[in-house]
Symmetry: C2
Subunit: 257 residues, 2 copies
């Protein structure tokens, strides 16, 4: 058997098991058994178990990054300025398509990414950020050119959040990778939208994320809209919440500046 074939089979098995059980809960014995190779194969081909995870991730992320950049360049080559929706679509489409691959690989990869992006470990974050660095920077700049009503740092944070949602929340919430039976049993609502195919999910995500990105700058919301929420709630609950700290109301005032 060729070396590459073995490596690919190991990556396939690891991808599935890391997604299903998590990295720590997956043993090399389980990986090699699923891959149909010997236990020692992982250490031979990848050096260690720790080195297997970045290999799995970059095999997934590379084509997504490439396509994100292709779509962005297409937009930038056009004569008209891109809209927020266009930028969001160029960013999100490759991700949604990844989670929508035929067979069960899409859901699987979705779960893997939900795990990875939710992991607050420094090593994990570093690994992901290294892989998306280029695409990320290019989109940051592009959104900065379009969201002119926002100060730069707010653009930065909104895009960071958007990217994180696209990578981690999308597969869990929007697509078919969540344990819908569990949600149905416990929350008892009809998640019909999840079943209507890729384009419905894509459109739904575009609406959600574009809405968030387009929102006016923080602090620009009218006082009439925001003030009563806090004032009312605080007043009605003051006697109940004995544990609240004294500076609470002060900080509200500061924020409502």
């Amino acid at each position: 058997m060729s070396a590459n074939e073995t490596k690919e089979r190991i990556l396939d098995a690891a991808e599935r098991l890391f997604a299903e059980e998590g990295f720590d809960a997956t043993s090399l014995r389980a990986v090699t058994a699923a891959a149909g190779t010997n236990l020692a194969a992982v250490n031979y081909h990848f050096g260690s178990k720790a080195a297997l995870l970045p290999a799995v991730v970059s095999r997934i992320l590379e084509p997504v990054n490439a396509r994100q950049l292709e779509l962005l360049e297409a937009l930038e080559a056009a004569e008209t300025t891109a809209s927020v929706e266009q930028l969001v679509e160029a960013f999100v489409l490759p991700i949604v398509d990844l989670f929508d691959e035929e067979g069960d690989r899409g859901p699987m990869v979705g779960r893997l990414f939900a795990r990875i992006m939710g992991d607050p470990g420094a090593d994990m974050q570093r690994m992901v950020l290294e892989q998306v660095q280029e695409s990320d920077g290019r989109y940051q700049a592009a959104f900065g050119r379009v969201l002119l009503h926002l100060p730069p740092e707010e653009v930065w944070w909104r895009f960071r959040t958007t990217a994180a949602i696209a990578g981690s929340m999308a597969p869990v919430v929007v697509s078919r990778h969540v344990h819908v039976e569990t949600m149905l049993a416990l929350l008892g609502a009809p998640p019909a939208m999840a079943g209507t195919g890729r384009d419905a999910r894509l459109g739904w995500m575009l609406t959600f994320l574009s809405g968030a990105l387009r929102a006016p700058a923080t602090g620009a919301a009218s006082r009439a809209e925001r003030q009563p929420a806090r004032a009312l709630a605080e007043a009605e609950l003051d006697e109940q919440r004995l544990d609240r700290r004294a500076d609470d109301r002060v900080s509200v005032e500061a924020f409502e500046r």
Copy 2:
């Protein structure tokens, strides 16, 4: 030492270690060493390692749920109908305050929740959903009464996404729990907003989430806004992307109905 004191010390240690290292990567020996108790204490007081996690989570979630319900009831008792922002604030405020607790417990709990909400395992999802069931249902109903421009299932999914973001993305992206040094080094942008305190973060989240919730129903966006993004990108890239499937364009048409 009283039994409760030991249990609390174990929960404290487990909370921190689960957040920092993850559940699987944390050994009972590490927990009991940090708690200053004997190794057997966990099994004595909680039955098993598996039972320790729900105990940790519900100790955190209980006061948050209670406060969410308090704030919602205050809004519902008012004579005027609540706004989207008011509802979002009532839902998000207890969560933001949780991640903002004095000392380092806030960031810690934030990391723990990022892990838990990102975990696609069925057991984990079931555990969380059971704990938030009541509050979740009440807010679902409340948002349904306010987002009148959306069909019920879209309200349902938008709130699901909002809740997931509030629980998992908020601590990672908006607050101080992300490894900012790593982001800075790799993405090289000034995340100044994260440093300006709780109220700035809260306001930022309200803007982001309210914007997403207020967005028009999916499909209601104008064709002039959305169509060119796809058409342009597809046309310019057709020759490059040989691997694209044939039904791609068809499905776009279907979605743009």
